[in-house]
């Protein structure tokens, strides 16, 4: 166990500060969007600067090893050994400088590492770096009306016709499909093979003729996800990742990265810090509510669980660096972190009391309605990447050695 900010880390912090001073000016800082209570969704990819100035800055930050540290340099990553203290220092200093940071979301966090693991050299060269820089926006074409938690029952099909695949069918709950440039999708190519063996992993340009995107409103009132219809959509034969019929194995790699993205405690931390800030300004009977003993007890209760999530993240990094199997510690974070976000948001709603009636964007609310968004967005996180009961099956079966469910 060694968590000390030794001289080496203090030097590292100075280097990060120097880098920021040299590359992100006061003028840049003044033009950057403020991070505040409303940006809970920002952590999942929204409200991030992607203009030319931000891209230029990100390229330099990646070259200096401050962003996308887990991805190889030759495909546009920062390529550094995992180190939670360095990562913490970078996050603190970039936040202080209001500098652009990693673009999160499905492209950079899920597809890019999948292509590094399973893609062809050409696919890696073509897609990884622009994805990390936010120049290619991706959506994920997995779920279908008849294939949700039971993903392997998907029916959207592709049939080979000369040097093209012809795709027909429908995807649903496709986040950001309306603005995405590309989709990574699971599609059935071998209708005669058993369920898992007949699926191929595709990369599809969303401008291809025959693709129709129709928005679906989620409970927050916004429309971030969609239905996507495919009507004789023709894509070239080299649009697949991995071999034909091996899409399920490729998707396991993506899913692992998706659960790591959602299981990361940083969103829960950001929401918690917002909660404490909120409790310091909301007044009840002439006193800020953070002085209320019940509220204090509830804040401390969730804080202890949040610290556990953060330190479990440290533990996973260390186990990963040693190539050791994390067991339960690697299986529980998605369920644990989404539970945390819910608990924090619910406490915030209690603190807001009748002010929590305000919808997102309502200027009269102390949080501009930001926490009611978080309260509802919890479901997007809890259901994305496998509903909670699917997670419980995985934890029980892989983590505790319980028998698999009977399934057909």
């Amino acid at each position: 166990m060694n968590l000390s900010y030794s001289q080496e880390y203090q030097d590292f912090r100075q280097r990060v500060r120097k880098f920021l001073q040299d590359n992100w000016t006061d003028e840049d800082r003044a033009s950057a969007p403020e991070v505040d209570l409303q940006t809970v969704r920002g952590a999942m990819g929204g409200g991030v600067r992607k203009d030319a100035r931000a891209t230029e800055f990100r390229k330099k930050a990646i070259a200096s090893g401050y962003m996308y540290r887990g991805l190889p340099r030759k495909y546009g990553g920062g390529e550094q050994p995992p180190d939670a203290l360095e990562a913490t220092i970078i996050a603190e200093e970039f936040k202080r400088a209001k500098a652009p940071f990693e673009i999160m979301g499905q492209g950079p966090s899920m597809l890019a590492p999948t292509l590094v693991e399973k893609g062809t050299e050409e696919q890696r060269q073509k897609f990884v770096e622009p994805t990390l820089l936010g120049q290619i926006l991706w959506c994920q074409g997995y779920s279908e009306p008849g294939a949700g938690s039971d993903l392997a029952s998907l029916r959207t099909s592709a049939v080979l016709d000369g040097d093209h695949w012809v795709i027909n069918g429908q995807k649903i709950w496709t986040s950001n499909a309306h603005e995405a440039d590309m989709m990574f999708a699971l599609i059935r190519t071998e209708p005669d093979k058993p369920r898992h063996d007949g699926i191929t992993y595709f990369l599809i340009d969303m401008k291809t003729p025959g693709i129709d995107v129709r928005p679906l409103r989620q409970m927050t009132g916004e429309a971030d996800f969609n239905e996507v219809f495919f009507d004789n959509v023709r894509v070239s034969v080299d649009s697949i990742v991995g071999k034909r019929g091996e899409g399920w194995q490729v998707s396991r790699s993506t899913l692992k990265h998706e659960r790591a993205l959602i299981g990361n405690a940083s969103l829960a931390r950001r929401t918690f810090d917002g909660l404490v800030a909120l409790a310091q300004v909301v007044e009840v009977r002439g006193e800020v509510i953070i002085k209320d003993p019940v509220i204090r007890d509830r804040i401390a209760t969730v804080e202890a669980d949040l610290l556990a999530a953060e330190y479990n993240g440290y533990r996973l990094l260390t186990l990963g660096a040693k190539n050791e199997d994390p067991g339960l510690a690697g299986l529980v974070p998605k369920l644990h972190s989404t539970n945390l976000v819910y608990t924090v948001a619910r406490l915030a709603m209690d603190i807001l009391s009748d002010r929590g009636l305000c919808a997102p964007g309502e200027p009269n609310a102390p949080d501009m309605g930001g926490f009611s968004t978080a309260y509802m967005w919890y479901w997007g996180m809890a259901l994305g990447g496998g509903a909670p009961n699917i997670q419980r099956n995985i934890i029980g079966e892989r983590g505790l050695g319980l028998p698999r469910d009977a399934r057909k």
Partner: protein, 366 residues
Amino acid sequence: MDFGLSEDQVLLKDTVHRYLETECPTTRVRSIMESDDGHDTRLWRGLAELGMPGLIVPARFGGSELEILDLALIAEERGWAATPGPFLGCAMATVALGESDSEDAKAAWLPRIASGEALPTFALGEKVGEWDAAKLEARVETTPEGERLSGEKPLVPYAGVSNVILVAAHDADGPGLWLVEGDAPGIEVTPIKGNDMTRRLDTVRFDSTPAIKVASGRSAIDRARDVGLVLIAADSYGGANRCLRMTAEYATTREQFGQVIGAFQGVKHQLANMATDLEPSLSLWWYTAHAMDHIRDKAERHAALAKAHLTDIYDSTVRYAIELHGGIGFTWEFDLHLWFRRALFNRSYLGGSTYQRRRATDLADW
């Protein structure tokens, strides 16, 4: 950065695990639990040979001079095995003495404690639910014959079998720490019949008992208390983890309605929820134990939060473990109640969860 155990720490943990598995199965836990004083000197000597009581004692006093995290790994194993005995009081007393200003007292006692020859304990709390050194009523007066301690300590671990008691009290200068020999005059020890008979508590009354001041102020007392909180957190993880694993094992063998019960999602998901609460909490007490030696400005607040969090989880884990076992889990013959009782002890001793969280919020910067 490294957030993991060293090879030596893994070895220490495995050694204690195997020793307790062989030497202290639940049959022996029960016989010690049902004995008069709850202290098995043969078991204590065996653990002393493995270095347990001397683990954090400085090398110049015959100890291994290891860290609180190492001690907490032993607490985890004792929690897993439900090991009875005076480990907790001994550890807190050793910390208090080690932090004291008296080289004479250290030289006189620490080598004997490290070898297992002498057993110390620690007397802090007085009124129900209050463990704050500033709020003690035990008083020390200076007389022509020396210092004399008077007062009542209702919850002292294993006072009846201890050779020396480190007592938190007040004199004219405020709080401090005094050393009282176990056979000194004016000590009356009354055993308490507790819910958890694997960790005994005694009420100790001091009446003009000869005492030697070994530390002024409260820092040694607070540190001993914080170590106690961390050890209870680690013990809670060990016990809860044992309950979780026992129950998962049971769910793969017990059959009802023509299949093992672990195949029912109602059972599987309950176990998954238990694991989801419990597994990350390991890292909380690891961090806290490490902070006791290396990140001191975070140690006190973390110890309060970790104690509250881990003992709450121990309580819920053992509750669901009993529920999932059905009727057998409610019997005296089945072992689960050993951990249930330890969970009760852990939750209450040194102050309950609400008390710890109140301390943690008072220590916060908000």
